[in-house]
């Protein structure tokens, strides 16, 4: 199958007072037709820069990229005809109504008056915005704005879609709703590149995941492959008596699939496991048998921080300058 999105050795440099910063440092990407690639990384990793280059908003300093077979640099307008972009900051016009926002985009795509209006109504219905469709966007909630922005990206039914952190800043309910919408799109055969800071989001939506740090891919594979590398869930426990730390570590080692980490406070332990709740039960039985008293214990999904810790040995802290770039 041909790659609908293909990038080789993308480099983007920014000058800054403290010298040169490489927002992208030789990034390769390949997204086959009809699949979803999750670009996973912390703030400032270069996710937004990558999306901006692939959507023709920014020119790369090095490397090459094609979208739908067209070179993003040489045939920017051709690429724009085939893509939809929904950004991190919902780029909808506050003073226009939801309907007017969509109709405006339809007219720019030269859909014609009747077709453009019909498409706008259809999208409002699909994104559950019928009731507010004729009110100015100013009064919309964050979730509604995101849905409208995504609807805007779909006006011309583009075969390739870029979603830059589609759920960052949304409350959990809106996030679940957004996931539903995205999954439906993918079922329709759209090729999608999605950036996210949430491992769970990439896990749920993406066929393949590329973990990116400092402008470079540091790991890639399917969600399962990545989890095998990183471990599945984490058992987290807090000891009542710090002197039992070594005993507790020994018990956890019987279920852990990789290194157990101990917090600076000397009483909180985190152990990656692969078996989920049965592993937790087993650990608890072991702790009980060894007479270890815990004040708190739980099982949680791995976060981006865990991925980073496993892959790079450091967490996702990034210098403030990089953060500014991603926000720009």
């Amino acid at each position: 199958m041909a790659d609908v999105i293909h990038a080789e050795g993308l480099v983007k440099r920014y000058g800054s007072r403290s010298g040169e910063v490489r927002a992208l440092d030789g990034l390769d990407l390949a997204v086959p037709e009809g699949t979803v690639l999750g670009l996973l990384g912390p703030n400032g990793a270069g996710k937004t820069t990558a999306v901006r280059i692939l959507t023709t908003l920014l020119e790369a300093d090095g490397g090459r990229a094609t979208v739908a077979g067209l070179d993003v640099r040489k045939d920017a307008k051709g690429v724009r005809k085939r893509i939809g972009l929904s950004g991190q900051y919902a780029a909808v016009d506050e003073y226009l109504t939801g309907f007017e926002n969509l109709d405006m985009i339809g007219r720019i795509y030269k859909l014609g008056r009747t077709a453009s209006r019909a498409r706008a109504r259809e999208l409002l219905e699909r994104f559950d915005l019928v009731e507010s469709g004729d009110r100015p966007v100013k009064g919309y909630s964050g979730g509604m704005r995101r849905r409208l922005d995504l609807a805007g990206a779909l006006v011309a039914e583009p075969p390739v879609l870029f979603l830059d952190e589609p759920t960052t800043g949304l409350d959990p309910r809106s996030r679940t709703g957004m996931w539903e919408v995205i999954r439906e799109l993918v079922r329709g055969g759209t090729t999608l590149l999605l950036t996210t800071q949430y491992l769970e989001e990439a896990d749920r939506l993406a066929d393949a995941i590329v973990v990116i740090d400092k402008g470079r891919a540091i790991a890639q594979g399917t969600s399962d492959e990545l989890k095998r590398q990183v471990g599945g869930e984490r058992i987290e426990l807090v000891l009542t008596d710090p002197s039992q730390l070594d005993k507790a570590r020994a018990v956890l080692a019987t279920v852990a699939v990789s290194d157990i980490t101990v917090d600076e406070d000397g009483r909180s332990l985190t152990a990656p496991v692969s078996g989920g709740p049965p592993d937790l039960m087993e650990a608890l039985r072991g702790l009980d048998a060894a007479g270890i008293v815990v004040s708190d214990v739980g099982l949680r999904r791995p976060t981006l921080d865990d991925v980073f810790l496993s892959l790079t040995g450091h967490t996702t802290e990034t210098p403030p300058l990089d953060k500014q770039e991603d926000a720009a």
């Binding site: 901006r52 959507t55 023709t56 908003l57 920014l58 020119e59 307008k77 724009r80 005809k81 893509i83 972009l85 950004g87 900051y89 919902a90 780029a91 909808v92 016009d93 506050e94 003073y95 226009l96 007017e100 405006m104 985009i105 007219r107 720019i108 795509y109 030269k110 100015p136 805007g152 720009a328």
Partner: protein
């Protein structure tokens, strides 16, 4: 040719969007309408009571100056509007669409001509109430209004470029204030040129705002022989000088703004 057609077609979509915004944000509309009325009344009665002019009355002399100042300040909307769209990511959305790269700027500057047209209509109405009259033919008067709109349009392109350079709309307003205020005051807008100190007088004589004001006055028949006492070439040939300035501004700032628009996202 199809590049032009695209720019105009997409530009029309942007004009519609900008006009909807004017209607939905009444503060903007009220400011557009009220400030010219305020200016006409303030100057007519406050300055008008202190300044005496031979030949034509001060109020008649003044109106063209206020027209000039108001339409040039109107260009600030262009810059502030574009800076606001940049900040809110709307320019990015437009840039990701298969539309003409000039359309957003063409549409923005065009919709600001309409705002200026409204301002001029309100000022003309107020002027008529306080005693201003057009003393020439209909077509000369039309030419006067067109010249005002044309010159303001060229200024919109300067402000469009500024709007693409700065980080927020507030900066446009401040920058505009610092540049436009002296430009419209060191001129024959509110006082006759001959009383100015030499250095200011020379600046004022070659200031295109002066020539535009002079041209407008002559086209409305309001000069009454008063302000034409300067023998500087721009004041003697005001229409030609103003049009030349306008064309030079467009030749520089249209390409400059379009280029900046294409780059804007990379900052």
């Amino acid at each position: 040719m199809s590049v032009m057609v695209d720019a105009l077609g997409d530009g029309a979509v942007v004009v519609k969007r900008n006009l909807i915004k004017i209607v939905r944000v009444p503060e903007l509309m009220i400011f557009t309408l009220v400030s010219p009325i305020m200016f006409v009344l303030l100057f007519a009665y406050v300055f008008g009571s202190a300044i005496n002019l031979q030949g034509t009355g001060y109020r008649e002399f003044l109106i063209a100056g206020i027209f000039a100042q108001t339409v040039i300040f109107g260009a600030t909307y262009t810059g502030a509007g574009i800076a606001d769209d940049m900040k809110k990511g709307i320019i990015d959305r437009f840039r990701s669409l298969p539309m003409s790269q000039a359309a957003v700027l063409v549409g923005r500057t065009a919709s600001d001509v309409l705002i200026n047209l409204i301002s001029i209509a309100v000022m003309a109405g107020t002027g008529l109430l306080v005693g201003w009259r057009i003393r020439t033919s209909f077509w000369e008067a039309v030419a006067g209004f067109l010249l005002l709109l044309f010159f303001a349009y060229t200024f919109s392109w300067i402000m469009a470029w500024v709007g693409l350079l700065v980080p927020s709309p507030e900066v446009v307003n401040n920058a505009a204030f610092i540049v436009i205020f002296p430009l419209t005051f060191i001129a024959n807008t509110f006082v006759p040129l001959e009383n100015l100190p030499t250095a200011l007088k020379v600046f004022a004589e070659w200031n295109p705002v002066s020539s535009m004001t002079q041209a407008t006055r002559e086209l409305f028949g309001n000069s009454g022989g008063v302000a034409a006492t300067s023998h500087a070439w721009p004041i003697q040939n005001p229409v030609l000088y103003t049009v030349l300035w306008g064309l030079v501004i467009l030749a520089i700032f249209v390409p400059l703004s379009v280029r900046q628009y294409k780059r804007a996202a990379s900052r």
